[in-house]
Symmetry: D2
Subunit: 342 residues, 4 copies
């Protein structure tokens, strides 16, 4: 596509990981945004095509160490793909350089600093920006995102789990102390660094639980759920990882306060997500392959033995990370929300 002069200029901070690459892929076909600046730690710098062979002939930028002046000059918005804890060191500088920032880390998601500090075991050093960051789940908080200059892009598990039950929470239909979120993610969720668990001969043909009682996405889910319900919510979240690259299937168990029919449930979901481009209410159970490579979330609620079982499927790297970030970017800049994401 021809690169028009009024295109949004996008920098990716921390471009050498999986979410950086996925963001690049989306921006390359966006139409109204273009990549202008890519950064990483020195050990992971170099021509994009050397870091990611899949970009040979598609992107001739260099991944460089971050230079704030260059950034200020070259970009309108930064997709900040740095890890937790590192992000809050850099975000104030990115904002200071005059950019809008969409941050992929957890550093600006948890409004209660003490919860953050407990789960991430580190002091929060940028509480001022934390206070004003928008939570970038546009389907639920689009108003916050419009007008923000800092967006906390949600975690992958919370995105899927919350979209699975948001209508129930918003309608006050379920008990708030007995929600169970059982999720299975593809292995790309573990990131780019090799390890014994994700060594192919171990991960292939395998499936296991992890983060038992300790996963950091649990308080994030509880916070968003609480905002939707207008009251404290208690969630038991149990993640698992399976032998596939991408996708998260969440199976969420909840107790309705009173009897509800399958039909009413379906209608509730359809009404709640009616105008949303990226949330599709299914009439059957979705598979992760129905959404892999897309920014879509497929949801399906059912009544089983008096409980509600809500399913959702997303691509952890798209709706669970880079796609949602660019959806947020589109909202921030007043563009059509599905640009680059069709």
């Amino acid at each position: 596509m021809s690169q028009k002069s009024n295109m949004i200029r996008v920098a990716i901070i921390g471009a050498s990981g999986y979410t950086g690459a996925e963001s690049m892929k989306i921006i390359l076909r966006h139409g109204e945004a273009r990549l202008t600046y890519l950064t990483a730690i020195p050990a992971e710098c170099g021509a994009v095509e050397d870091v990611f062979p899949q970009f040979r002939g598609r992107c001739d930028l260099q991944i460089e160490p971050l230079d704030l002046e260059k950034l200020a000059e070259l970009a309108d918005v930064a997709l900040c793909c740095l890890p937790h804890k590192v992000s809050m060191e850099f975000v104030p500088r990115l904002l200071g350089a005059g950019l809008k920032v969409i941050d992929f880390s957890a550093d600006y998601r948890l409004k209660d600093v003490s919860v953050y500090e407990k789960f991430y075991a580190v002091k929060h050093t940028d509480t001022a920006n934390l206070a004003r960051a928008a939570f970038g789940l546009p389907e639920l908080f689009r108003d916050q995102v419009q007008g923000a200059d800092l967006v906390a892009n949600p975690g992958c598990f919370p995105t899927g789990a919350i979209l699975a039950i948001a209508p129930l929470l918003a309608e006050g239909l379920i008990e708030l102390d007995s929600i169970i979120v059982n999720s299975v993610t593809g292995a790309s969720g573990a990131g780019k660094n090799p390890s014994a668990k994700f060594h192919f001969p171990n991960m292939n043909e395998n499936l296991f639980a992890y983060g038992i009682g300790t996963h950091r996405h649990m308080p994030e889910m509880e916070q968003i759920a609480g905002e939707l319900a207008g009251s404290e919510v208690r969630i038991l979240f149990q993640p698992h990882v399976g032998p596939f690259d991408r996708g998260i299937l969440s199976t969420v168990y909840s107790e309705p306060k009173q009897n509800v029919s399958d039909d009413r449930l379906l209608r509730l979901y359809e009404d709640f997500y009616g105008g949303e481009p990226f949330v599709q209410v299914r009439k059957d159970s979705p598979g992760v392959k129905d959404v892999v490579g897309t920014n879509y979330c497929h949801v399906f609620p059912a009544i089983v033995k008096g409980r509600i079982v809500s399913f959702s499927a997303i691509d952890n790297l798209v709706k669970g990370a880079s796609g949602q970030a660019i959806q947020n970017m589109n909202v921030l800049f007043g563009l059509k929300e599905n640009l680059g994401l069709q």
Copy 2:
């Protein structure tokens, strides 16, 4: 191994499917049992090596249409790998031919005929044998199995799920109306017949739920759980299938009646399964790859936010089918229980 004259002679009825093949594999290295007679429907008969190339040079039997006289003459025990509903037509004849029978179908598992008839949508035609069949989960019902001449080999999901929580049920530690069993099975669970869902380009890189509210293993779980608890148990069972050949990981959520510590929980499991060769209590969460190809079940209980989360991993074709059948056979014939299963 040399074939001693006093070896148990094993027939496999319905030898052309996955559980038939797995049973053959185990008997071939058993040491005190040998294959003598293999049957299938005519369309699936032929030399074993033509039906299953992996047996070339390992087994030179023919798979033949069932002939009851030949069976009576050639075998001491029948592993009956027929599908539900077909099994109860044949089992009486197998017993009539003087053999001990280990039946892989659901036909002799559900003691309440009305539950069977509801979930399998067919009239039960062999209630006399149903009444006296032993439920072949040796870890829980070894006494029944010893001395039986008909053993109902348990379903794969019930085996994994019940072993995950049997100590809790037997000790009366948990509420009986809020148990949730969330399981993920490998695709061999779907059997040998090609279908759109299990076509490689659909199943690969995919994961989805099925049998929502309707899976036939749900009443089976409730029956066994009820026997252990001495009271009616209500289980919400949700199966999923993932992109791997073998294995079931079950994640079982339950509510303790009163506070219990991780340590006490672990000790309870260790005491309960102390002498069992095939149930291993782990100190961490098991992966399906830890048990694939074996008859072992790895379990691990944990306390999360006041609930108990119990994990179990089995190979659906071994401990969930053929391995457990041969474990039952070993019990029936007074052999060492792990023969062929080490």
Copy 3:
């Protein structure tokens, strides 16, 4: 993207298979083309989102039985994704309806009717159109494609294999009677219909050869190679299929007529493919994952023990089918060649 009135209107004939779906996916983000008409056999018709859940919310067309008048009215170009033999019944009518046609089948690829009739065991019924069809491998025959109204979209294996060795053939560098093409394709190459070989529990963790001495892409390779070399070429082609969805890795063995250095070889490839957007000459061996989901072909030639070993990787459904078709469409309509393919 907003749908401009001057967009190319695209019909997909045979939209219910894998190449139909992949074509839809690409057109949906093309920017200067849009889907207007989708057809299939009656048994596979219905809302796109019911046939392919991944298009829910992305495309609200119906897949309908073909109506030639409607087609003529609604579309400028037809991507004809019908199977071999069926295609030549329909292509004359599509052309007759005034459309440009890009045909995915083999029916218009083999210029020698007797070779076609031998390998496809059927009489060719549309030799007039066969004679004037362009062979749609733009990197080699772009001139033919521009100006054509019927394009024969190449086979997936020939695309990868020929791009791996085209510089050698065009330069006359290798012996023409001893070329060996060894390829491994992902399982999507087998199409959408379930079968025993591609049943997940059989195909997963498996790899096998097929089409030994009989694969229909062999004469297609020989024809194109012959055109490049200006002389008859003899190719031994051996395909294999492995446990992955997409991608073909071809390893092509050939004998240089005289000594050639690695450096000269690399320069030859770089010169030959210098301006091509979709062929990337690597300095190391490509993996299929470097190209999956893209229209790129990565090639790498090396000298081993006096032979030339040329590697190429493509996505069988993109550069090997739908992507190349849309690349051809872009050429036909004078658009930027990578529209929809970035």
Copy 4:
């Protein structure tokens, strides 16, 4: 199985890797051999069940640092699973301790020390034992193995490739300067240490070539082929790795000296391998899944366009490593050759 007093006592040196684990698995069901001593480098020692959870309840040994006195006292034979170069430091000591040794490394395979030193880039320090080591491919060199006290267990690729063409070489049927071996291995071939290439999100859904012109199994193939042919043989060997755990499919291309029919070819193979328990001549092309988990090699030769294409499938960890080692052990000790391997 009861452990008889006259069982062969087996030590595994370097028990913490994949071939160590596979060897343990086989010995555990051997019947006439038992594990008595397991060693590894200190960082990888510990209870077997902690190093390999799949052995919980199946083996209660400790993996310990090597103590030669203890070894001499406890074991009759050592399976030496150390890496290349390390092995030749330890093998003389193992022999000195009075054990028979089956060595998995390349250190005793290449009879020409200069070839070894070139390909392994290290000086050979144990040429005396090298000279007398038997090459442990029993189907071809059973006489050597009987009576040996040191067996060099062959490489995985040479095992598959040579068994695919041994009848052709022994009969003098093919040209010796134009053999091409194209192989695809599963990822367990890369061993246990995590790396970027074998990180699940990279290796999954991927397939690539490696070791182009440099793979160390190439001279090993040439040496064995040369012995069979009685003359120097030149082999171009190109390995690839695909997204599956186990198995090697080798596709070997050769030129017959004169015309030969498919039938004669098949008969030649059947005669050559007639009595061999572990080599099965197929009438169709084998898949790796036909042999995975077994010590079998399936071969199939075909004529294609005047060339011979020979296929073989083995499990790289069984017939390509641990299974063949135990087959060798059975030969060394005069046992039935398939003990533990049925």
